[in-house]
């Protein structure tokens, strides 16, 4: 399974989200999930199984793939809840 964090540039905000997702997966003891970061243009079906996107990017983005919208990039409680939900959705938890 692959998670892709998306931001407008593809190297700052999205990289932070990627690192925080990896941290949470480690805390949860989940392995075998690939996490990457990229810019908006890379957000297309097939590039990943689920896309994590900040709220403001999500407003202008329509992809035919599961998308998780984040209110804050550095709120670990929010992110943890959403990662757990993703794992449930994919039957990994």
């Amino acid at each position: 399974m692959k998670i892709m964090a998306i931001c407008g540039v593809g190297l700052g905000s999205s990289f932070l989200v990627q690192m925080n997702i990896e941290k949470i997966l480690k805390e949860l003891g989940v392995s075998g999930i690939e996490v990457e970061h990229a810019d908006v243009a890379s957000a297309m079906p097939g590039a990943a199984d689920v896309f994590y996107v900040s709220k403001d990017i999500a407003e202008g983005l329509s992809i035919d793939a599961p998308m998780v919208v984040l209110n804050s990039i550095i709120d670990m409680d929010e992110l943890r809840g959403k990662v757990e939900k993703t794992l449930e959705d994919f039957g990994l938890k």
């Binding site: 540039v9 932070l16 690192m19 990229a38 990017i57």
Partner: protein, 151 residues
């Protein structure tokens, strides 16, 4: 805990402002030390403004912290950070749902070699106690210390 230092953010790149700044002014001011020290060109800073205008306030990280940045090709030649603490909050993109009081300007030369720098940033920003210390800092040294003391 011994200070390990944080070479990506020297004291010379931390600024405080009491002025009422427009958001573009704030981004330019935040980026000025990186321009002065030659890590980025002025066009990189303008690109960071333009990309927010184009794609929205995606570099609002939450907690009143924004991390303006642009693509390396816009004019970044080294990896580093600068910080602007605004004592009067600035509305990113003039939107009152995006008030910012700390701008952390990011210079990166590709999409992944700045991993170590961002890891350190992430450790600070997800920790509310450290964010509070950043916001109550009154001297550049205090800001740098928050980043430096992490193992």
């Amino acid at each position: 805990m011994p200070e390990t230092g944080f070479t990506y953010l020297p004291v010379s790149r931390v600024q405080f402002s009491d002025e009422s700044l427009g958001w573009r002014e704030a981004v330019r001011l935040a980026g000025q030390p990186l321009v002065d020290e030659g890590l980025v060109t002025p066009s990189y800073v303008e690109a960071a403004i333009a990309i927010a205008e184009e794609k929205g306030p995606f570099y609002d990280l939450g907690k009143g912290i924004a991390m303006p940045h642009a693509r390396p090709e816009a004019g970044a030649s080294a990896i580093g950070l600068s910080v602007l603490r605004c004592r009067q909050p600035v509305n990113l993109l003039d939107r009152d749902d995006h008030p910012i009081d700390i701008f952390i300007m990011l210079a990166a030369t590709d999409s992944s070699t700045h991993l170590e720098m961002l890891q350190r940033l992430a450790v600070v920003l997800i920790d509310d106690e450290k964010v509070d210390r950043l916001k109550s800092a009154t001297a550049p040294e205090d800001v740098v210390a928050v980043f430096s003391e992490i193992q």
